[in-house]
């Protein structure tokens, strides 16, 4: 089930600069595609869009989506319709840290609305907005599956549970310090638990 015919042709943007995965990432993408049967490479679309979003500035531009379509040998519309359907794909520019606060039933019982209000105050933005320094985007999301440990927010891939306003202050401070380093702490979860 190797799909070696998948070729990394760069997609050229409107200003002429190319969009393409680095060779290392491209190898990962090829391995992902080979998990699905021959001819079903479109199955890799969601996982690849996750990677593309991470690699190309945190959101999916039309150019990025066109590039992914060319990789999988599908029509660009097949990528657009998927990217607009799923809430984890961002079509507009977002901050380095996307803070998603759960606002569904059980979390509101445990004080989710207070946490949201607190974040709006300390970041001085409304839900859906990004801070001027480009660090934080605040979003309200539906159930994160953390109902017994609410209130909860997810920052990029990491969950922060049983939040209090004090804990939120401390986390935001940590993230501001962390922001000077290269990469967000995306894979920290795995190591933590083994």
């Amino acid at each position: 089930m190797e799909h070696n015919h998948i070729i990394n042709h760069p997609q050229f943007t409107r200003d002429g600069s190319p969009v393409a995965f680095t060779p290392e990432v491209f190898t990962k993408v090829q391995a992902l595609i080979s998990r699905y049967p021959e001819g079903q490479q479109k199955s890799a679309l969601l996982p690849i869009l996750h990677i593309a979003q991470e690699e190309f500035g945190g959101h999916l531009s039309v150019d990025t989506m066109d590039y992914v379509a060319s990789l999988l040998d599908i029509q660009p519309i097949e990528v657009y319709e998927v990217a607009t359907f799923y809430s984890m794909f961002y079509l507009d520019k977002v901050g380095k840290y996307v803070i998603e606060v759960c606002h569904t039933g059980p979390c509101t019982i445990s004080g989710g609305e207070k946490i949201l209000k607190h974040l709006q105050e300390i970041l001085e933005i409304k839900s859906g907005e990004t801070t001027q320094d480009g660090l934080f985007t605040l979003k309200e999301v539906e159930c994160l599956g953390s109902c017994g440990t609410g209130p909860v927010m997810q920052v990029n891939t990491e969950y922060y549970e049983k939040l209090t306003p004090e804990r939120v202050d401390q986390l935001i401070e940590e993230l501001r310090t962390f922001a000077n380093k290269d990469k967000p702490n995306d894979s920290a979860w795995v190591e933590k638990f083994f």
Binding site: R35, L46, H50, Y86, I109, E142, C143, V190
Partner: protein, 439 residues
Amino acid sequence: MGGKILLANIDIPGIRGFDVYRANGGYNSVTKALREMSQSQVNAEVTRSGLRGRGGAGFPTGLKWSFLDRKSDKPRYLVCNADESEPGTFKDRYLMHHLPHLLIEGLIISSYALGVNTCYIYIRGEFKYLVGVLEKAIKEAHQHGFLGDRILGTDFSLNIWVHPGAGAYICGEETALLESLEGKRGNPRIKPPFPAFKGLYGCPTVVNNVETLAAIGPIINMGGEAYSKVGRGKSTGTKLISACGSINNPGVYEIEMGLPVEDFIYNPEYCGGIARDRYLKAVIPGGSSVPILPAELILNTAKGERRLLTYESLADGDFETGTMLGSGGFIVFDEDACIVRNTWNLTRFYHHESCGQCSPCREGTGWMEKVLYRLEHGEGKKSDIDLLVRIAKNIEGHTICPLGEAAAWPVASAIRHFREEFEEHVLHPAEVIEKERRL
């Protein structure tokens, strides 16, 4: 109450890793099934166990497996539904996080029984951190010969792949999940054909929930007969209940089916009573989609019998006075909870999560949300209450998938049991808003 089956070893340090898991009897069921049992014997044990789908529908697993088209010459697939997104439900996340190998073990035996060589775990995108945990478990199983080609020297080969979704509740519906796995929008398919005949890539496919699959290893170890003796009547075995809301001990509990609801709420071993010593007002016992019941009806049925945590007892009284076990997402409300506010909140959820395919659901959920918003914010009319009942009735049964019902039932049941609270919002809006502001 009876011993634990799924979570028996959860407190052993290092149980997440292969070595400790194996040293405590892990993967013995795989050895037993592959070396000593035929495919049909494994199927028979699962049928005998009486295991029912733990994702919410409660459909007998053995029967679901028996529908799989085994005459087709196309490849068959097993897909693990790890798209846990039902508000109030967090048991699969807990299981995968703490016991990833229990799931892998179940997947291997199930694939063997079903004649499957490729298996996908479709996990909700928000649980991306768990992808690494599962991938690591899969890698370990490969290294020890439990996955890959010719497992344990038999003719049976299997690969398991983890596939992240990207934020869509609807993908928990099995045909939407398959669409999504094929790289499309999560629009549920019209059934029939059922996945057992035309599932992933048009091939025969079984889709099972994480908790269901995790029970397969223990069933093979203890035998279907022994498993069926745990529990009560047709609700065999144990169930993971994720408890949240206004209780002292939120968390995931493995209970033997048949435990009285009252014990579950008040026993310190489980929820430990209502938080801050308040009164119990209402419970949604099976994830946000199932009907809400007021305290008196969740503790005892309309006939005056104790309500038990079983499929049958919770459904006693149908929708008039009963509810459903569903996914086991147990949400508790205390005396201060506002039912109107909660119903508005959940309706917003269903509106957001409707895939938009069927107009009754797409338009109806948005309409209900709007009406509930104005009721909750003191701008409602008395006629709004019956309007909601009518909209809910017109969604129910008129959609391709059960999201329509899932959106309609919470509204219909909240009005059925708490109509006076909705009326209060119309008659005395200022007082209601002031009371909520103070809380």
